[in-house]
Amino acid sequence: MTDANLPSPKTGTTPGMAAGRALPHWVDRFLGGWRVYRKNTIGRIGMALLVLFALMATTSFIPQWVDPMYHPMTGVDPQISYSTGPSLRHWLGTDFIGRDIFSQLLAGARIAFMVGISSALISILFGTTIGMVAGYAGKHTDLILMRLADMIMVMPTLLVVLLLSALFGQLNIWIIVLMIALFRWPGVARVIRSQTLSLRHRPFIEAARVAGASHLRIIFRHILPNVMPLALLYMTFRVTSAIIIEAALAFLGFGDPGTVSWGMMLQWVWKTGHMFQAPYWMLPPGICISLITMAFYMTGRAMDDVLDPRLREEETTP
């Protein structure tokens, strides 16, 4: 840390002043955090796994370029019409109609990242905004918003989405992402709210108010930068829960039929009755879901240590 340039607690109010020096203040803070994070073994393992999965997701387009029969959804090996074990031609074997399991696995990584990150982003957006507004406004607004949060929090998300898919028919993957996000913001909102409550009467907020800043400006310009790290931490937990819910939904047969996710692969194993004969097909997707969940969870725990050792993580519930 460059001690000569002490980070002021009022992030965002004076970005221009620090910018005259080498690095913007937030980059400095980020690098400082990274230095602590690097020492954390759990965090390192988690990050390494995430890099591996990211690699899987980015290379998922390659197999279908090599040969169209490796396309995860539509590519069928012309010589095979049943599930076969691993071979040189198909590294992890084929599924019940002769599609390549390895390329499905790669495609699954792409879906998992897509679902996890976009859903987490949306729920963090909702949660942070609602939490800040509730904490800052107080009184009735706070009461109503928090009661709403309580109510949504007790609902089992998976079953709610299941019921909605019964009513509205087969759900598109983006609708699923949105639904998961809409039901997963309350936990975030609660934490952000309590953080906002502790910030509300700090001198720099009072000063901003005296200087004539509007409520919106105070919330987004002065409070937001201070709750941002916490929101980021909760994002890792939301990513896990979104991935698990999507996988479970697909496993039960309510996923988007146009996507190949790991949950979908497990559903095919289960529904076609291959679970006893084809361990080479059943093991990889389950291992991947479990490992990516673990990777995000470990990253979250390590970030937790970086941000504040007294803060304990929430559940990784779906």
Binding site: P156, T157, A166, W270, S290, Y297, T317
Partner: protein, 325 residues
């Protein structure tokens, strides 16, 4: 405020929440594309039966009256007739409810007990190999994908080793046999319950272990533990009788927080093991477009979650006399 008033207040809150859930469900069922009547009345019914059912549910009335009918019907348990079973849904679900409650409560209790027990040991042996192993094991089990673990359990314990039945809750031959006593029947259910129970415990105990461990570490720093040491008490007494009971309180909170998660997991487990519970019935009804069954199953699950929440809150207030509401 005493405990009694606290429970009363929570009951009122639960009633309000349930009312809101009910209303949202009503709106959703009317909002969904398609004909709302065909969603509550089986298309294959005879016209007379269909008309009777429609009248009892007020489906030919204006929306506002329909809502009142709906509230009355939920209160009296008249929630329509299942398309698939052809029986009143409430009868089907009341039949399934005990099975769900049995699996749900035993799994939560056992995993919390196991988590507390192992978390206590992990904290006590902080930094040693036992601690590392337990923590990593907990983290690992906690992040396993539940339906997949269930499939693996079936594949290994039921198919390869053959110790447990593959699916279901009872073996018909035991229950048909007039000579079989209640003990044989109970053992039969236990035999079927072993695998789903093991799956749920493996998934859930990890988070409780982690919570217990960190809370125990905090407790061990407290002054009264130093006092206990200074008195020359045995280490085991300090651990089990002084530190552990206080440290276990956050686990109760954590059980409450993860209730929705447990219900999700319960539904998945029931489905994979074909355990005849409410969760499986909900999944089944959704995939067969059996709307009356889906609606009622969801409402009953909502009640189960809310009541379980209340139980956890009351338990917490009972266990921690410092909490006064």
């Amino acid at each position: 405020m005493g405990l009694k008033r606290f429970v009363l207040r929570r009951l009122v809150e639960i009633a309000v929440i349930f009312f809101v859930i009910m209303t949202v469900l009503f709106v959703l069922f009317r909002l969904a594309p398609g004909d709302p009547v065909s969603r509550m009345v089986d298309p294959s019914m005879t016209p007379e039966d269909a008309r009777l059912l429609m009248e009892s549910m007020g489906l030919d009335q204006p929306l506002w009256t329909q809502y009142l009918y709906y509230l009355k019907n939920v209160a009296t348990g008249n929630m329509g007739v299942s398309f698939h079973y052809g029986e009143p849904v409430i009868d089907i679900l009341m039949n399934r409810l005990p099975n769900t409650v049995l699996l749900f409560t035993t799994s939560i209790l056992l995993s919390a007990l196991l988590g507390v027990f192992l978390g206590k040991i992990a904290a006590w042996k902080r930094g040693q190999r036992t601690d590392t192993l337990l923590t990593i094991g907990a983290l690992f089990c906690h992040t396993l994908f539940l339906p997949w673990l269930a499939l693996i359990m079936i594949w290994f314990f039921a198919y390869r080793v053959g110790w447990f039945p593959i699916t279901g809750m009872v073996s018909p031959d035991v229950w048909i046999d007039p000579g079989a006593g209640w003990l044989a029947k109970a053992l039969d259910v236990l035999h079927h319950m072993a695998l789903p129970l093991m799956t749920l415990i493996l998934i859930h105990f990890g988070s409780y272990l982690l919570v217990m461990r960190s809370s125990m570490l905090d407790t061990l720093k407290d002054d009264y533990i130093i006092t206990a040491r200074a008195k020359g008490l045995e280490e085991k007494t300090i651990r089990d009788h002084h530190a552990a009971p206080n440290a276990a309180l956050p686990v109760v909170t954590s059980v409450g927080l993860s209730l929705a998660f447990s219900i999700n997991g319960g539904a998945l487990t029931e489905t994979v093991f074909t355990w005849p519970g409410i969760g499986r019935e909900l999944v089944f009804s959704v995939s067969h477009s059996d709307y009356p069954l889906a609606q009622a199953a969801f409402l009953i699950i909502a009640i189960v979650v809310l009541v379980a929440n209340l139980v956890v809150d009351v338990l917490y207030a009972y266990l921690d006399p410092r909490i006064r509401y």
